[in-house]
Every structure is written in structure tokens, then in C-alpha cells.
């Protein structure tokens, strides 16, 4: 077998890899969108006055957070069909990623809400604003910027975890690389290209998130310019 990086082979498989990259980006985007919504539900569970719901919510979040995403994927993919729920690998993957990262995002939301000073609530109470109005006009506009860096971090995090979807047969980038590698008995180029594509996409994204984080910190007066 020829040693070293074969550029002609890399060039040959490039279109396939780029096409699969597109799938990876879609998977990350859809997974993220679901996670954003699921996170809201977990947040709601956390903030309801009922102690029982709080407790159940906390245990579910802890359980999802301290078990591997990989087995959760297998669980959803293999167990649901036994109860007659037949979902495609794509749907299973999106649900699992949404649930898994939803728990993390609920923590981001919680942190952001707690980051809004209590006196803001007191002032709104004093001005006789309704709770809904207080949330909509006073609290959320202040909480949102605090949540942005955390939300951005998990977008990058989800993107980097999408290769796990290949284990249940979702045709994303890593899956394509494995298929191409197996077909040609050469893993060097496909896997290296996957690494490079991930670097090209996630390093700028991570830098952008860090920049946002800095800006939020400056706006909040945590660090000086």
C-alpha cells in the first residue's frame, strides 16, 4: 500500500466529503434548534412552584447529563422500535441530541436569568408591572445577552458531537469518511480531511463565541476594555 498522503485520492473524494459536510451542518443545526426548545421546557420544570416537579426535573436533567450521548443514541435507536415506534436514524439522532444538549442549555438559561439583578424584579413589582410584562420587557432583554456565549458554546459542542450520529447510520461527514475509507482501504485521507473540515468550521466559530463572551463581559462591567 502506498504510504504518505495521496493528494489525488484526496481530491477525488473531496466532492463526496463536502456533500456530507452539508449533512453534518444540517444535523447540527436541527439538533441545536431542538435543544434550544427542550432547554426551555427543562427550565420551566425547574421554575415551577411545585417541589415534586422540580425534583423530577432535576433528576432527569442529572441523569441525561451524566450518561454518555453514545449510549443514549443506541437506546433511542434500538429501544423505541420495540415499542412500535419506528423512527429513522436521522429522527432518532436529532431527538437524542436535542434532549442531551437541552439539559445543558437549560443550565445556560438558568444562569442567565439569575444573572439579572434581583432589584430589577423589585423595581418592576414597585411599578406594578405584571409578571409576563416584566419577563418580556425587562428581564429577558437583559438575560439574553448573558446567555449568548453559553448558547454559542453548545452550538459548537453539538457540531463536534455530530460524528456520533454515524454510529446509528446517519450519513453525515464522519459516516461518509468511514464509507469511503472502507471502500478504498485507505483511511488516512478521509479521516484527515474530516479533521481539517472540522477545524475550518469550528475554530472560527469558537473564536467568534469567545469574542461575544468578551463583549458581554465588558457590557456587564465584569472586565474593563
Amino acid at each position: 500500500m502506498e504510504m504518505g498522503f495521496r493528494w489525488d485520492f484526496a481530491y477525488e473524494i473531496l466532492p463526496q466529503m463536502l456533500w456530507a459536510t452539508f449533512n453534518t451542518i444540517i444535523a447540527a443545526g436541527v439538533g441545536y434548534a431542538i435543544a434550544l426548545v427542550v432547554g426551555l421546557f427543562f427550565l420551566l420544570g425547574q421554575r415551577t412552584p411545585s417541589k415534586i416537579i422540580n425534583g423530577i426535573n432535576r433528576e432527569i436533567v442529572e441523569f441525561i447529563r451524566s450518561t454518555p450521548l453514545l449510549i443514549q443514541l443506541f437506546f433511542v435507536y434500538f429501544v423505541l422500535p420495540q415499542f412500535g415506534i419506528k423512527l429513522s436514524a436521522w429522527v432518532c439522532g436529532m431527538i437524542t441530541i436535542g434532549l442531551h444538549f437541552g439539559t445543558y442549555l437549560s443550565e445556560v438559561y438558568r444562569g442567565a436569568l439569575e444573572g439579572v439583578s434581583k432589584t430589577q424584579w423589585e423595581a418592576c413589582r414597585a411599578l406594578n408591572f405584571s409578571t409576563a410584562y416584566t419577563y418580556r420587557k425587562i428581564v429577558l432583554p437583559q438575560a439574553f445577552p448573558i446567555a449568548i456565549p453559553g448558547m454559542g458554546n453548545y452550538l459548537v459542542g453539538i457540531f463536534k458531537d455530530t460524528p456520533l450520529l454515524s454510529t446509528i447510520g446517519v450519513a453525515e461527514l464522519f459516516h461518509a469518511a468511514t464509507a469511503v475509507g472502507g471502500y478504498n482501504y485507505r483511511y488516512l485521507e478521509p479521516y484527515t480531511m474530516v479533521g481539517i473540515i472540522f477545524l475550518i468550521l469550528s475554530v472560527p466559530a469558537a473564536m467568534w463565541v469567545r469574542k461575544l463572551e468578551r463583549r458581554v463581559n465588558i457590557a456587564q462591567g465584569k472586565i474593563k476594555q
Partner: protein
């Protein structure tokens, strides 16, 4: 087949897998702590080359996916004449990946030590090595341990990935049993439970204990 029958038949296999998972966890934990320390310090070096190497390393491993790195170490390194056993490849990939995240935590911890401590050590004419070893490092532990604890729980979860490069760990066994018996709910459910128990009842209490210990050592905890 009841759940107890399932456990009686496959419980031992799952437990054996769990032992491998614990081995992977401990080895990669040691490796990642060492790497974090080295690269965290390098990141703060005044020498631009050393700092540059650390930055590239950290950005590279944080920028790509762990699974890709794992497969690269296991399937691509043999092309360059380096063939690693699956277990070693898994530990190396986990250690390198989490070392990059850990290095950032160490860097943050060192920066969070008050400047006066550096100045005082300087004023007492401590050598640079002694300054770091005796004054700065002991003080960073209470700062870095809480984020490091989170990272270590993430590491436990990430060890599941080594099953994909044929390390016979808990995930691998669960998958194996699933493919033989098709009792998916039982085998993956049990695996999830075991991971949960390991994280909540063993790893997290251990890390909390370390945090308390570190806080006491610098006189911040209530002894």
C-alpha cells in the same frame, strides 16, 4: 425473560466491561491532568514559540471532534508506522483531547491567583521554578477543581467512545449483548444506569472530596 434473568445471564459481562471502563477512565485521567498542567503553563510562557506550540495544540484538539481524533489515532497512525493497541489508542486520544480543555482551565486558574502572590514570592527571592511549585500551583487547586470536576465527568462519558475502536468496555459489551439478544432496553438501560451510578455515586463524591481537601490546604475551607 425478566430483568433479573437478564442480569443473571449478562450481569457479569457488563461488570467486566465496567472494569475496563474504569481502567480507561483512570489512565486517561492521569494523562489529561499531566498534559493540562504542562500545556497550561506553556500557554503562559513568555517565549513566543512555546506559547505558540501550546496554542496550536489546544486549538487543534478543541476544534476537532473527539471521535475523529480517536479514529485518527487508531486507524491512521499505523500508516505512519505507529500501531497502537486499541486500549492505548483510546487512552491517548482521550488524554490529548481532554488535556487541551484542561490546559485552558489551568491557564485560567494560574491567572486567577492574585498578583500579590507572585510579587511576594519574587520579593522573597524564590527561583522561578520554586515560585510556581511552592506558591502558585498549591493555590490554583481550589480554583481549578470545580471546572476540572465537570470536565472529568465529561471524560467518564467520553470513555464510551473507545468502544468504537474495539476496546471491550461497558458500551462495547452492551452493544454486543444487544446484537445477540436484541434485549435493547435491558442492556442499554443497564449500561446507562451503571454510567449514572459511576458518575453520581463514585466520581462526583470523590471530586467533591478533592475540592474540600484543596480548600483546606490553602486555609479556605472550614476544617
Amino acid at each position: 425473560m425478566s430483568y433479573f434473568e437478564f442480569l443473571a445471564e449478562h450481569g457479569t459481562t457488563l461488570l467486566l466491561g465496567t472494569v475496563t471502563t474504569i481502567k480507561v477512565l483512570i489512565c486517561s485521567m492521569i494523562l489529561y491532568v499531566i498534559i493540562s498542567m504542562i500545556f497550561g503553563l506553556m500557554r503562559l510562557s513568555k517565549n513566543l514559540i512555546i506559547q505558540g506550540i501550546a496554542t496550536v495544540y489546544i486549538e487543534f484538539f478543541r476544534g476537532t471532534s473527539l471521535l475523529v481524533q480517536l479514529f485518527w489515532v487508531y486507524y491512521v497512525l499505523p500508516f505512519f508506522g505507529i500501531s497502537l493497541e486499541a486500549f492505548v489508542a483510546g487512552v491517548v486520544a482521550l488524554g490529548l483531547n481532554f488535556g487541551a480543555y484542561g490546559a485552558e482551565i489551568v491557564r485560567g486558574g494560574i491567572l486567577a491567583v492574585p498578583k500579590g502572590q507572585w510579587e511576594a514570592a519574587h520579593a522573597l527571592n524564590f527561583s522561578p521554578a520554586k515560585r510556581i511549585k511552592r506558591i502558585i500551583i498549591p493555590q490554583i487547586f481550589p480554583i481549578i477543581l470545580p471546572p476540572a470536576a465537570n470536565l472529568t465527568v465529561e471524560l467518564l462519558k467520553a470513555t464510551a467512545l473507545v468502544a468504537l475502536v474495539t476496546v471491550v468496555d461497558l458500551t462495547f459489551e452492551a452493544k454486543q449483548i444487544n446484537s445477540i439478544t436484541w434485549l435493547s432496553a435491558q442492556c442499554f438501560g443497564t449500561a446507562l444506569l451503571i454510567y449514572y451510578i459511576m458518575a453520581r455515586l463514585a466520581l462526583v463524591p470523590f471530586l467533591r472530596w478533592l475540592e474540600v481537601l484543596a480548600a483546606k490546604k490553602v486555609g479556605r475551607g472550614n476544617a
